[in-house]
């Protein structure tokens, strides 16, 4: 008698559990892009292109400039949960993937064979700020084609705290180049 009562209850519980599983949203859904970040992606004119090694000395805080480069030159190019990446000058920094034997390195986007001075001179940190001047809390990797080794054109303003040693830029517009 007891068994007869328990079995339908168990079956109902199992079915209910199956139903819940089936209605769960797929876990692989991509997170929505922050509209403030999405709005930055546009075509940027290539006129008056500056180069990172020179621009870091010739431009002061709040100056606007347009740069072109690849996302490369460091082990960690993106910061998880923060709109920030490292841009490397293509004439100054050589990523491992462009070395004669790219298989020597597990991280083809860094420039471990370049001298430290070249890596520092040839890279800039690009960040996307909100209205309060804080970095927007969303990682940029994978957003609208921004990947390691992507070729990118950036219109930016030199950030407060930037100097000849640490070149920090606030992105005003971004364009992923083919």
């Amino acid at each position: 008698m007891k068994t007869k009562t328990i079995l339908p209850v168990l079956a109902a519980l199992l079915l209910a559990a199956c139903g819940k599983e089936a209605s769960a949203p797929p876990s692989s859904a991509a997170p929505e892009i922050d509209p403030r970040i999405d709005a930055l992606f546009m075509e940027i004119s290539a006129e008056k292109l500056a180069k990172i090694p020179e621009a870091r000395h010739s431009h002061s805080v709040k100056d606007e400039l347009v740069l072109e480069g690849r996302i490369m030159g460091a082990m960690d190019l993106f910061v998880d949960g923060h709109a920030m990446f490292v841009l490397g000058d293509m004439e100054t920094v050589t990523p491992c993937i462009d070395m004669p034997d790219p298989s020597h390195c597990d991280t083809p986007w860094d420039a471990c064979c370049d001298p430290k001075e070249l890596r520092i001179q040839g890279t800039a940190t690009v960040q996307v700020l909100d209205e309060q001047g804080q970095v927007i809390p969303q990682g940029l990797e994978g957003v609208n084609g921004l990947e390691k080794l992507s070729k990118v054109r950036v219109k930016a303003q030199v950030a407060a705290g930037s100097d000849g040693e640490a070149f920090i830029l606030n992105a005003l517009a971004l364009q992923v180049l083919p």
Partner: protein, 383 residues
């Protein structure tokens, strides 16, 4: 059921066998407890060494070792003035620039030994609140401040480590200004020195790292800082992660202690089996007679297990007494410093379970071998 006194009487029928079983069990239990206490002590020390509020800035590529790391001297100042959320007291930021150096030191009447020196400034006291001065004061130029466990690494008696004593380092004499405690952490085995002194003596113009004490365990601002200040080539490692990495690095050593205990345990078990096979084989007829008297095979097996368990557990109890007397709190040195063996309740339980395991597992195969043959054949084996 056979009466319990039957098992007790049999236990003393062969004193040599009893002694052999007892010593075997004692040795294995002692080893298991030793290995457990070693693992417990080392793991506890490394896990206690990381504070969730502390984050270390190291040189990129040297995340596993502060001794190998090199970062520019200016990193500490820039970090203190740029990173929001660092704890402050009396207008000073909890930012500790440090130099970690494995150097040779010599105490009076002792051998020259290699020991970890940490060059610090007074800000270190803001970053490590668990640190307290037991005697004396913080070191100034020409002075050193050892942790309370450093006597072990220095190779001197504990009572000799006191303020005023002289230690020789790089051909110069340094006076001990004080002794500090930082319970359960690796720091207690280190010797702290004035940062500038250590930099001069080691001819380094860089730092090993900078430790920051944040207001919350959220280290995102520090990560953003290291990405912005790419010229400093910094890596951000939460202190807990750093010591978890060290614990992982030493895992093979801890594993070796278990493997050693296991191998000796298997050897002891094999020896015990051999002894019991011989002992029970000579009693086949006696056990068969018990069956003819009406005792079941299960009852006889239970009695044999009782007999072996008493010997093994007695060995384990002796091992437990020895371990608590001589191993608990014993200071062990390794390359990161020293730690104390920790006879926790878990370790004691593991020791007792070892005795139980040896008693049961060591008895079953020889006992079953004696009880399985048919009764007539077993009775005939008496002749």
């Amino acid at each position: 059921m056979l009466p319990f006194r039957y098992a007790i009487r049999n236990l003393f029928r062969d004193p040599m066998r009893l002694l052999q079983t007892l010593l075997g069990s004692l040795l294995v239990t002692l080893l298991v407890m030793g290995a457990g206490a070693f693992n417990q002590g080392m793991t506890r020390m490394l896990s206690a060494s990381g504070d969730p509020l502390n984050v270390i800035l190291l040189g990129a590529g040297s995340e596993e070792s502060l001794q190998r790391s090199e970062i520019p001297d200016k990193a500490a100042g820039i970090a203190a003035s740029t990173i929001p959320g660092i704890q402050e007291r009396a207008g000073r930021s909890a930012v500790s620039p440090e130099l970690h150096f494995m150097g040779y030191l010599q105490a009076p009447d002792a051998e020259r030994v290699q020991i970890l020196l940490r060059g610090v400034k007074a800000e270190a006291l803001m970053v490590y609140p668990e640190l307290s001065l037991l005697e004396g004061r913080f070191p100034r130029a020409g002075e050193l401040m050892p942790g309370r466990m450093a006597w072990k690494s220095l190779g001197i008696p504990q009572e000799d480590l006191k303020p005023g004593m002289l230690l020789e380092f790089e051909g110069q004499s340094f006076r001990v200004s004080g002794i500090f405690a930082a319970p359960g952490t690796v720091m207690e085995s280190e010797i702290w020195a004035d940062l500038n002194d250590l930099r001069t003596l080691t001819q380094r113009d860089s730092l090993s790292g900078v430790t920051l004490r944040m207001q919350s365990p959220d280290h995102r601002e520090v990560k953003l800082f290291s990405t912005r200040r790419r010229n400093l080539e910094l890596s951000v490692v939460p202190e807990q992660e750093y010591y978890a990495g060290l614990a992982h690095f030493y895992a093979p050593i801890r594993g070796m202690t278990w493997v050693t205990a296991l191998l000796i345990g298997v050897g002891a078990l094999a020896g015990g089996l051999n002894t019991l096979y011989a002992a029970f084989a000579s009693r086949i007829a006696e056990l068969a007679t018990l069956q003819t008297l009406g005792y079941s095979r299960a009852a006889i097996l239970l009695s044999l297990i009782q007999e072996a368990l008493m010997a093994c557990l007695l060995g384990s109890l002796l091992a437990l007494t020895l371990a608590l007397q001589f191993l608990d709190g014993l200071t062990v040195s390794f390359s990161m410093g020293s730690f104390q063996l920790d006879m926790s309740p878990g370790v004691v339980l593991a020791g007792l379970l070892t005795g139980l395991f040896l008693g049961v597992l060591g008895t079953l195969p020889p006992a079953l071998r004696c009880l399985v043959p048919p009764l007539p054949a077993a009775l005939r084996s008496a002749g």
